[in-house]
């Protein structure tokens, strides 16, 4: 996408007036559509559509050996795949840098034990643990990838069911695990602390959230703020511009406020999702 100067000015003025090109105010999100449990082979999955941004997240679980330095913890890994369908820029290896950036920022945001309790994933201290692979597929890029991805990941982890370990026996060097075959025996993860990322975008003198693709082009810089339970877990600055300390503070406040609202809305929605007979979504 390319904008000419006039278009950029138009966007800028809209932001100044608190009336953005699509009619939103500065702290408004575009409409979102969320589905969970849509990949039947995955242990948990979610699809989030944020206007034109479309993200599919699937969670896979494997048995692994804990890191020697953290024998009581399981593992969590993120992998982002930028489908070339999402934007022509992703063709070939074009999306790779972005994919690594997103997965790194997610890994950073989830690193703290307060954010996500990995000890729950330990099966046998130092010997066996669950390893969670969070596979993120970007289906369409319509701006604001971080926010969309973080919400989709949180929803997918909410949906994830960890198989129930019935018994663990140690036989020489072999560890025999007995795992319940039944799906409904599975345990859910606690994701209330899972961080929500809010991209606060500086356009002109103002900060906006959920920039559209056009708005992203007008921005001099953006701050990706991940918030977990009232606390900041990571903050990441993107873009080329620099931020005044005062602006930074304002951005943080905005981000914190918006993240709270987003979190509450998301949890409310997830609790409400019921398995429906007439399934919607694109994979069925």
């Amino acid at each position: 996408m390319a904008l000419c100067e006039a278009e950029k000015t138009f966007v800028l003025h809209g932001v100044e007036e608190n009336f953005r090109i699509d009619g939103r105010e500065r702290e408004d999100y575009r409409p979102m559509e969320l589905e969970t449990n849509i990949v039947s082979h995955a242990f948990g999955s979610a699809r989030l559509r944020l206007a034109n941004t479309d993200v599919l997240v699937a969670v896979k679980i494997e048995v692994d050996v804990p890191y020697p330095e953290r024998p009581r913890e399981g593992k969590l890994e993120f992998f982002v795949d930028c489908s070339a369908n999402a934007t022509p820029d992703f063709e070939g290896r074009g999306g790779e840098d972005l994919a690594v950036e997103i997965s790194n920022s997610l890994a950073g945001a989830y690193r703290s034990p307060e954010v996500f309790d990995l000890t729950k994933l330990c099966i046998l201290k130092g010997r066996k643990c669950w390893k969670i692979f969070v596979d993120i597929l970007l289906l369409e890029c319509g701006g604001n990838l971080y926010d969309a991805v973080s919400i989709a990941v949180k929803a997918a982890l909410w949906d994830t069911r960890i198989p129930l370990v019935k018994s663990v026996t140690v036989d020489g060097n072999n560890i025999d695990m007995e795992v319940s075959e039944e799906l409904h025996d599975c345990q859910k993860l606690d994701v209330t602390g899972a961080p929500i990322m809010v991209t606060v975008c500086k356009i002109g003198e103002q900060c906006i959230v959920d920039p559209s693709a056009a708005e992203e082009l007008c921005s001099v810089g953006a701050l990706v703020i991940s918030v977990s339970r009232n606390k900041f877990s990571t903050i990441l600055q993107t873009g080329s511009g620099s931020l005044h300390p005062q602006t930074l503070l304002e951005c943080l406040q905005t981000g914190h406020k918006v993240a709270q609202r987003l979190h509450d809305a998301l949890i409310e929605t997830l609790v409400d999702i019921k398995p429906s007979e007439n399934s919607v979504g694109f994979l069925r």
Binding site: D176, S180, E181, C186
Partner: protein
Amino acid sequence: MFTTKSFIKKNKVGNYLKHVREHYIRDDIACGLQECESCFPVESFLSPDHENKCALFEFNHYIILDTNVILDQMDILEESILGNVIILHTVLKEVKHRSLPMYKRLYNIIDNPSRHFYVFINDHHKGTYLQQKEAELVNDYNDRCIRAACSWYINHAPKCRFIFLTDDSANRAKALQENIQSLSVSDYITNLNNNSSLTDKLSRKDYHAKDAAKDVFPNHLTNVELLTGIREGRLLQGTFRASRDNFLEGFVSVDSYEDQIIVQGRAGLNRAVDGDTVALELFREDDWVCPSDIVLEDEGVEDENVDDVISKENELKRETKKKRGAKPTGRVVGIIRRKWRQYCGILQGGIDGVYQLFVPADKSIPKIRVETRQAEFLRTQKLIVTIDSWPKHSRYPHGHFVRALGKIGDQSTENEVILLEHDVPHSQFSEEVLACLPKMPWIITDDDVTKRVDLRHLDICSVDPPGCTDIDDALHCRPIDPEKLEVGVHIADVSHFIRPGTPLDREAASRATTVYLVNNRIDMVPELLSSNLCSLRGGEERFAFSCIWEMDHNANILNVRFHKSIIKSRKAMTYEEAQLIIDDKTKQDSVAESLRNLNKLAKIMKQRRLANGALVLASPEVKIQMDSETMEPLDVEVKKLFETNSMIEEFMLQANISVAEKILEVFPDCAMLRRHPVPPSLNFDPLVKAGRHLGFEIKVDSGKNLAKSLDEAIKKDNPYLNTMFRILATRCMLQAVYFASGAFQKEDYYHYGLAVPLYTHFTSPIRRYADIIVHRLLAVICGSDATYPDLLDKKKTTDLCQNLNYRNRMAQYAGRASIAFNTHLFFKGKLQDEEGYVLYVRKNALQILIPRYGLECTLFLARKGETSNIFEYNEEDQTQKAGDVVLHAFDPVVVRLTLDSNNIQHEKFVLQLVKPVVDNFSVPGIDQTDDNDKKRKSPEPDKKKRKKKKH
């Protein structure tokens, strides 16, 4: 319409995957009732004409069964009294899941039209499909489905009546609540009008939901636990050896214990396989047992049921508890190192399905469970299988099929099996190895001539067994002055062709020895060397390593020298030919002269050696004559020995001794020598006892005394007696081994059998690698070759010795196994009376030696564990008495010999006594048998078969 079923399952790698199965629900599944008009007609054996007459119901009815009824009351169902039975698909699946044999039996009934059974696919039927509820157990879900199907039938066909039979009282109660007429099987059967035959068959078992796979073995400890346990002395480390006769018994040799430690039973052995290094926990002394002498065979069954093992364990316990003389006993608690290899064997017959049991040829290895889809084909083959794992819930180790060797009983297959079982490297020589060979045509250059002593003018000749192509030794003898003779032993100079460090050298070192099978020779070096360039063939110029003595006429060595040489053998003779030349007084040429001189000297040398206490041992060695075309054994005969045999032997011994002295002198640390340890006196017990019973005192305190007592043990009426003693003595000996001189004390260099302080192998470099090393050492000494680091490394030489010793032992066993197999082949279908001698007298058997075939077999006097009512065993005198016939050790007997091929992996000879005649036991000789007798004899093999099983 469809729904999905999801469940979690472990994959082969050990990860858990979510599986999703689509499950289709249909509205076109028929109920199978003939009376039904709404369903479209299907083939169904249900018939309104069949009547189930139960006193409780005055109406005819259909029966619906619960899973537990089928699992427990199959005997009743197989009686053709109950009919019009509807089997729900839910039930069928559950039966299949729980017990495959039951499923097969059930399916046989369902397939039989006269039984009027019908399978209703309730789980795909729109009206009877139920979704599993959250947190609902499978069992409850299945019960719910079954009840739903019952209700559906009742509503679907109001004209018919249905009875639901279940032994699960909870399910019954729920069914009654849902207005399904429901009964327990016993209630139903006892009220059946014609029940007489059925009530006996009722299984009274209360139904319990069985746990999933139960553990068959206790857990192993972890490595850390094992290591700390061993360090703290709570656990012992040792090598596990399984018993060949009893699959529930094994022994662990632990360094710190003199006796081997017994382990018994499933829990005691705990998945140890022969050869494994295990950790062991010793029991308190009260719990020690004595080794059992019963034979227990694992009658492998297809499923993982261990009931038969438990009963055998109990038998074993009874057997070992009651006696005194308990030995240290323990149990295996963990495996330190597995020694699993590939095993040869066959599939056990009579098992269907993809899981098959593999029976290794080696009886000390347990049966192995393998998965195969070509069982039909593999059953005719010898195959190789390897063990992958032995999980604790499995009765057998799990393995996989590696490859098939060929048809069972084929000679090439059996050769392959023998080679594999004895770990003989027998693949073709690689390109890399062959590249090290000299280019043909091979010519002797002037350079070679200057470096070597030219002995082409000497009258050298070789004497070998007939058909020998790898001739590695030749001799000459010539007078140099009236008092002195020059005697030369010329050994093929193999080390000239095999240079250290080349691929050829490495290959030869790994093979270590040439292996001789009856109709096959596995060369240590490629044929070009073994049969051509190194072979000292008659009339050809060859490189040799010569050992030349100057001797006086009394065979005293005055002088010895070693050097590399070029020789030209005048003639390659066989032992027989040489003997004829010596005996033929008309021959006066130089070859004949030197042979006579050599023979004369050899006799003196032998005399002297024997006087020094060298043992003359005997083991029955046989030669098998093969048909050159069909490769079938034509005859088995004991090898003939000539004077020339011992002549060659004497000079080879002398050459070896001279070389041993020389290399030890120059290389006191790294000379490769051969020692024969003095056997512990305990080993001689059987020999001494046997001697005492016959009135001979066998002295075993020194080799010299032993040799002397053996010489004196002669009885005029039994000329073979002395040989028997020597055979027994041979069995008391330990193996002679190679070693590096630095690794032992000087007094341990002693060679007991030959009664010499130093010995090595120098004379057969074509077929033994040790000789090549000795050649290299000697070449360094005479300045014709350079050393290399590995040659002088004590550690490296010791490692090499270990391999040589192992390969030699294996080669020897392989050779014996090959002879045994061919002897068996020769006797297949033959019935023969042979003369033999009693070797040992046992409680229920006689060990018989048949010298003509070099066979040792067992003549059973009674079944195992029983005492004969004909024979009376006298432990004191070691005799068996029947009437006025008394059988001592070493007595001559005549026995009838047949081959028992019931166990195709372990064919064995069966003996029957012919002479002396014992009433009701011995059989008449073949010569006396007339036609009538033969007819009577015909059912005999059956009798033998039965007898054999009991043993």
